[in-house]
């Protein structure tokens, strides 16, 4: 069974987790083409992706750096590192 380390309670079966996708910062006050590119385009090639995951039983959201070629978790990322200000 495939397992993933939940930063809160440790190693759990992958079926307990939801994959949310890459953590991305939306462009603010941009033209339509930039917005379309943000909405649809993705980093599709193998890389280390910074991704949001959700552990359902504990209701815990967290962020991982994961290598999408080897499926190796490189780091657990503090949410404060990806925060950004929403303009007033």
């Amino acid at each position: 069974m495939k397992l993933l380390d939940c930063p809160l309670i440790g190693r759990r079966p992958i079926s307990e987790f939801d994959y949310v996708g890459e953590v991305r910062k939306p462009p603010v006050d941009c033209d339509t083409a930039t917005w379309a590119a943000f909405v649809f385009n993705r980093q599709g090639a193998p890389s280390v992706l910074r991704e949001r995951w959700y552990h359902r039983p504990t209701g815990y959201w967290f962020i991982l750096d994961r290598d999408t070629l080897t499926d190796e978790v490189k780091a657990i990322v503090d949410a404060r590192e990806v925060r950004y200000d929403i303009p007033a």
Binding site: I14, G21, A37, G44, T68, T70, D71
Partner: protein, 413 residues
Amino acid sequence: MSWKLLKYGFKRSHDEPRFFPEPKELKSHYDVVIIGGGGHGMACAYYLAKEHGITNVAVLEQGYIGGGNTGRNTTIVRSNYLTPEGVKFYDTSVKLFEDLSDEFDLNIFYSTRGHFTLAHTDSAMRTMRWRAEVNKHYGIDSEVVGRDEIGKAVPYMDLECAGHTPVMGALYHAPGSVARHDAVAWGYARGAYNRGVEIHQRTRVTDIRTRDGRVIGVDTDRGAISCGKVISMVAGSTPRITEMLNLPTPIEIFPLQACVSEPVKPFMDTIVVSGSLHVYVSQSSRGEMVMGASVDPSVLHSTRSSFDFVEGLADQMVDLFPFMSRLKVMRQWAGMSDMTPDFAPIMGKTPIEGFYLDAGWGTWGFKATPVSGKTMAWTAANDQTHELIEPFRYSRFADFDLVGEKGAASVGH
């Protein structure tokens, strides 16, 4: 053993022609380079040579012919899609499939089975009615059927689905078929080769060269080639190719797994799909139950398979077919699905002159093999996107003009 085979075995030299010839050296120039020697790539090479007289073509394949998603799908061919664009496109493909065995002089074991897409909820029934009406409008044989008809056609299925998600009805699509996927790639490859196309297996493209926004050649691990046109038909490896050109795409790669059971006597002559339970099953001509489910939950560039998949699949499958609990799983595998946000492919011209994309085949690529080859060959030959694939153009995302085919994906994602 046949007499011919016995005699052949005792002969000193074996002069039967090879299905595929020994590889030659790469030439320094080709008019068209096709990246990817799967079904789509081979079909495109075949139609380029046959219908457009373009034979100075090289197909470059990093592995072996049909060794990617062509050899990893569950071989279902159908056209009961949801959108008019999808229905017209896949219907053309089904019609081409029906004649392929004759055209290739090679049996692709095209077997028309009838295809049930089960609905277990009111909302699924609504989608089935919608699909049936769109299909009928375009002349596709597709209708909503009730529990009685399903029970007669698939008597060994538990319509109560173990009590928790009873089957309410189904979309029945009589032309739904299965085919021998390897033979489709081999047939196209032989046809292309016989017309002068070069097929280079174990040849990996490492870079695509451009000048002033035009393709001028490709670099491979066997040397550089100059060419005027490049067609990328690599499904799960698409982002690696588009990255060489800094061409952004919405494609994300998710593994899609499948498995077969041990062979049993033929009993199942239909294809059964349940979108709600995320499973599909048919019986192969060898008697194996061919089973698949939805894609894995997270992005991964890998063809590893997992126990979680078989466990999840068996859980749902046994609800529908309780006797399958006694079958053993013989083999499981995975392919890399290039998923798009609207569950439709990305085909045709790109912002780079001479670079054509045939991608975004996600979980629906095998059934499109003939029509993709035909329309991409036309597109490359005329440097103009074929009208049948115009709705699938690369620029549709920037134009916010998506296709919206998710409702007709075989299983929920």
